[in-house]
Subunit: 409 residues, 2 copies
């Protein structure tokens, strides 16, 4: 389906991913960070390691509502102990005298001397006496440490809480709050110029003349990049006039960290991005991937540049396979796609010399159903999918039930 030299000289997916990462590596310097309050840092990548400034938990505390005891006070058949003043959560606990039991609430500090908690439902009687009244309780024998959360058992002071490059989601921000941290140094958002091209491409909302299509790539990629934590500058749709595209790129390049174009990168007769990048340090090549094979990469007026192909599915696949992993790896955000395994609900064929990406839906039983065919123009099928299905190089057919790698979108 592609010319012979393309097939023979195609770059691997991994090599092109490395090349895109290398292209952007200069954008992750120490001057490109900012200090943000925790919630403003949601979805950003951490710049630099954070060691724990305190133990978590900060002090030994009870895991249950019950009685704090000295376990050595209780014999095998159970022992009657005098009930002392209760310890609510948040209070400082006085030392526990031998032969006594202190009512203790979940999360409350263990009194010095106590080494275990007996849950209230194992006590006789199984309720707390009114504070201030003299009372006893019979408790069963208990191993030291039972239902006690020791200080530092989650993390100790000085241990690595979060490594530089960590993605900051709810769990990570929750940990920082638990450590008493209020601000965090993160990588700045990248500014990206997004330019879609094509004489056939019309801005949605305008009339659709014969031979024209609405621009889907701009919306698709701006949405995907926004989700990934990138600031997108949208240029007007470029026609297939290379001089106009060159002028537009030249105008915006100084304001952005990266230029992304769509369309005009293959070997046809009217490849506007190739023509506009003539004389620039930009290479056009073929990656052994379907869809999304034709790619451009380099620098335009010194600004990092990647050129994606013109079909919507090719654009999304290019972003997911090359740009998104580079952002995750260099800037800690977005979170990398976990490698999920699922069984194919149906057989699939693939060009053995290429890494094929199909769109699919993860089913509740752990299988993945393909949506639409391999065509890179099938944007309705894409919108019906929640996953990318990988068929690696060297595989030309897989049976129903075969296990594949899947990325959720």
């Amino acid at each position: 389906m592609h010319s012979t030299d393309d097939r023979h000289h195609a770059r691997t997916v991994e090599a092109h991913r490395d090349a895109v990462r290398e292209l952007l590596a200069g954008l992750s310097g120490p001057g490109r960070t900012e200090l943000l309050p925790l919630l403003a840092a949601l979805g950003r990548g951490l710049a630099g390691d954070i060691p724990a400034p305190v133990d978590l938990p900060p002090f030994a505390n009870s895991q249950m509502d019950g009685f704090a005891v000295r376990s050595s006070d209780i014999s095998d058949g159970g022992t009657l102990l005098a009930v002392v003043a209760p310890i609510p959560a948040g209070a400082t606990a006085a030392a526990l005298e031998p032969g006594t039991a202190a009512p203790i609430m979940t999360g409350a500090m263990m009194p010095p001397g106590a080494d275990a908690v007996v849950p209230i439902e194992k006590a006789v009687p199984d309720s707390f006496p009114d504070p201030g009244t003299a009372a006893t309780v019979r408790l069963p024998a208990t191993q030291p440490g039972t239902y006690v959360r020791n200080a530092g058992s989650d993390i100790r002071t000085g241990e690595l809480a979060l490594a530089g490059g960590s993605f900051l989601g709810p769990g990570q921000l929750g940990l920082l709050a638990a450590l008493g941290i209020t601000q965090v140094k993160v990588h700045r958002r990248l500014k990206v110029l997004l330019a879609t091209t094509g004489d056939e491409v019309v801005e949605p909302g305008n009339p659709l003349e014969p031979g024209k299509i609405y621009d889907s790539n701009g919306t698709l990629l701006e949405a995907a990049m926004s989700q990934a934590g990138v600031d997108v500058l949208r240029a007007a749709i470029s026609t297939d006039n290379p001089d106009a595209l060159t002028a537009m790129l030249r105008e915006h390049a100084p304001q952005v960290d990266l230029i992304v174009t769509t369309g005009g990168v293959s070997k046809g007769a009217y490849e506007v991005v190739r023509q506009a990048a003539a004389g620039q340090d930009v290479e056009f090549l073929h990656v052994a991937m379907q869809p999304g094979g034709p790619q451009g990469i380099g620098r335009f007026d010194g600004v990092p540049f990647v050129g994606f192909p013109g079909n919507p599915v090719s654009c999304l696949v290019s972003f997911e396979m090359f740009l998104r992993p580079a952002l995750s790896s260099l800037f800690g955000a977005p979170a990398p796609r976990p490698a999920i395994r699922a069984r194919l609900a149906e057989p699939v064929e693939s060009p053995g010399g290429k890494h094929q990406l199909r769109r699919g839906t993860l089913l509740p039983d752990g299988r993945v159903r393909l949506e639409g065919g391999a065509g890179s123009h099938l944007v309705h099928a894409l919108a019906s999918s929640n996953a990318l299905v990988h068929v690696p190089v060297g595989t030309s057919a897989l049976a129903a039930g075969a296990e594949v790698e899947v990325w959720t979108l």
Copy 2:
């Protein structure tokens, strides 16, 4: 570990999820929608079906750079055809005369009369002649329909493009743009009052006295709810004084759609949320789930109310298991967690009578490794995880290699 009546009367996870959904169902009326430009609608849920206003593709077009032909013109051994004017993308194509071949670019309109495309690399010569020069080309026999994308082959005018309740991510917005749609009706964001409680809980940034811990729940849940498309109003941390909490909830209730509290819902002696909700239509119960068993649900001054337990992991699990699915189901956002299957990297034990949720990391080989133990206070272990691991009711042990359901966080 819990009192006998709790265990005997525990509600199933499914029943409580349905109850939370039912509680919020009144918030999804037709007056609670808004019309937004596509990119402002990213991450929102679609209110109402959208039928396709046009065909996609809008017209038959070429899938390759090559020659548009009448397939019946070419005999089995190949045929020499006269080359006519090329058809670039975006142009209106004139009818193709019998015995001729038109150079055509990917995405360009098929000329009337043509029914197939021969890719350029199968032509002899395998390059396009200069436009305007008389030329011939030898092309091999080709099946009708080859490399033609027919009008409406992705979606036809009037067919359902997106169903009401769809989550609007990049793919869905890309489809709407391809259809020429510029604005979309979505569900309004919910306003949620988030109130964390506890005498032991201190706002991060303040000194940590003995017996106190920093508030992690507020940051964790505000971040999780923000990701899920909810507007969060954070109340100051409430002490364990029920009158103060009642007054605070009463002050804010009229401004919000939902109240969420953390802590103070179990059976201890100092359960501030239970006490503050006395006299309100709020039920406190136990769900057969670990962690996150104790739950409150009902209405406070008529406003929907859910009370989560006080440990951070319990809070996140409560949100993921009950509130997040209700939001997805009623308002189309956030996107539901796909049910992923993974193999355990290690054995796990579970209380057979409860649905256990553990934290874990999905490994590149498709296995899931558990992070930390079952303890609901382990926020460092949570921050090291990218997945929730489900061990369903009725399962008390699973071997390494057993398949489990996993939700990526």
